[in-house]
Amino acid sequence: MRLREIALVAAREVRDALRSRWFVLAAGCFFALSLGLSMLGLAGAQRSGLAGFDRTTASLLNLALLFVPLLTLSLGGLGIAGELEDGSLAMLLSQPITRFDAYAGKYLGLLAAVSASILVGFGATGVIVGVSAGGGNVRGFATLVALTLLLGAATLSIGTLLSVALRTRARVIGAAFAVWLLLVYVSDLGTIGLTIARNLGPAQIFILALLNPVQQARVLGTLTLSQRLDVLGPVGVFGLDQFGMVGLTVLLLSVLVATAAAPLACGYVWFRRTPVT
């Protein structure tokens, strides 16, 4: 592994992301929505007397589950396909770097840019809530930030795989949006439909949930906030019953890490053999 070359490509990718209007717009929206939600949470907390971080974390979890996959799937999708289409990937790969250097550097650079936007959005929110509302579940808030970064890494991997496989901007953007709909909305509806039609048991619903990184992050995030059975939902309750708190957390974290690693590895195997013309 050539760390210097990977770091150089990653730094180039960060600079390119910061110049991208789509990234700046999406990161700005994420920042504004985080801030807006935390303000609303604070207003509610002052009326109900709830601690600031708990309410804010719950609101931000839903925002992260919706917004982060959209940002990362499209950004990851454009990463390689965009450069392949306009010819700049050929220029990059004609330099003395390996395909692994280019691939890893591009992924890490995009991950760094996405992580920065998440940290800025959530960081500002944390400061405002901390100053205005004082204590509460700070650990839960910090866990949410870490979880969001991990979810971002997983969906960025899926975006990168789409980028290598589909090769053109138009196809990648279409596919990224379809995958986002699938992960965020359709999988829920599909699970409900399957449960009714095929009379699925809790174990089967749990396995279906494990296939979706958004669901993995949702259960993990909810578990951090509250272990009340009505909040966790059937998947969380089944997991908690089968594996216990620590077991379920370790299992979900492992699956989320695997969801980040597997598409990334598949994408590299594909990229290594991709003709750059």
Binding site: E5, D86, A90, M91, L93, P96, T98, P275, T277
Partner: protein, 227 residues
């Protein structure tokens, strides 16, 4: 020295190169000519490892498949249609300089050599085709590699740009750089190369040395006629 042996390339079930072999001596300047789709650009892409090929390529004794870094360290590439994303010109050069461990102080003089010193801080995406081509040449100059791969290098250049390009390449030849040039332009081939390799339908059909035959070979190639 470049030694290509039995190169075969098939992309999307189409044969692009069919058992192509050739040698280019150190310091020699060789043109690849042939009709569109004859495989000129593909040979350059094989040398750079951009496409998966069968056969063997050695550049200064390094195998292009087994030692791609060693090979690409020796090569610079000026493509037909250069693209560098949305970075400013100076940043593009700085990236390559850092990657190749070249002194960044050389960047201004390199930009000056291709007439882009006034555009150093401008984004490359706003450049015309000719300016992108100049930048591409600037990258090759900055890298100062012993082998240059040029793919229709002056196609997008205006008259002044072509003159600058010819002067730069002539200087590089005098300094002993090896050149492999894919081109349709007779004046480019005649003034810059010693030998012509003629390709047709992915096959090597001619290796022409005497300059008197060049014009005829190029004229045939440009019209896409078969010999």
């Amino acid at each position: 020295m470049i030694v290509a042996t039995d190169l075969c390339l098939t992309l999307e079930e189409r044969v692009i190169l069919d058992h192509v072999s050739f040698k280019v001596a150190r310091g020699e300047s060789v043109a690849l000519v042939g009709p569109n789709g004859s495989g000129k650009t593909s040979i350059l892409r094989c040398l750079l490892g951009l496409v998966p090929f069968e056969g063997r390529i050695l550049v200064h004794g390094h195998d292009a498949v087994r030692e791609p870094i060693a090979v690409r360290t020796l090569l610079s590439y000026v493509p037909q249609k250069a693209a560098f994303g949305d970075a400013p010109a100076a940043e593009v050069l700085a990236f390559v300089a850092t990657l190749r461990r070249i002194d960044r102080a050389r960047i201004p003089e390199t930009l000056r050599a291709v007439g882009l010193e006034a555009h150093a801080s401008e984004r490359v995406r706003t450049f015309s085709g000719g300016m992108q081509q100049r930048l591409s040449l600037a990258l090759a100059l900055l890298s100062d590699t012993p082998v240059l791969l040029l793919d229709e290098p002056s196609a997008s250049l205006d008259h002044d740009g072509q003159q600058t390009f010819f002067d730069i390449v002539a200087r590089l030849r005098k300094r002993g750089h090896t050149l492999l040039l894919a081109s349709h332009r007779p004046e480019e081939v005649e003034s810059l190369t010693d030998r012509v390799l003629h390709l047709d339908c992915g096959r090597m059909v001619g290796d022409v040395a005497p300059p008197t035959k060049l014009a005829r070979v190029i004229a045939l190639s440009a019209r896409g006629e078969r010999r």
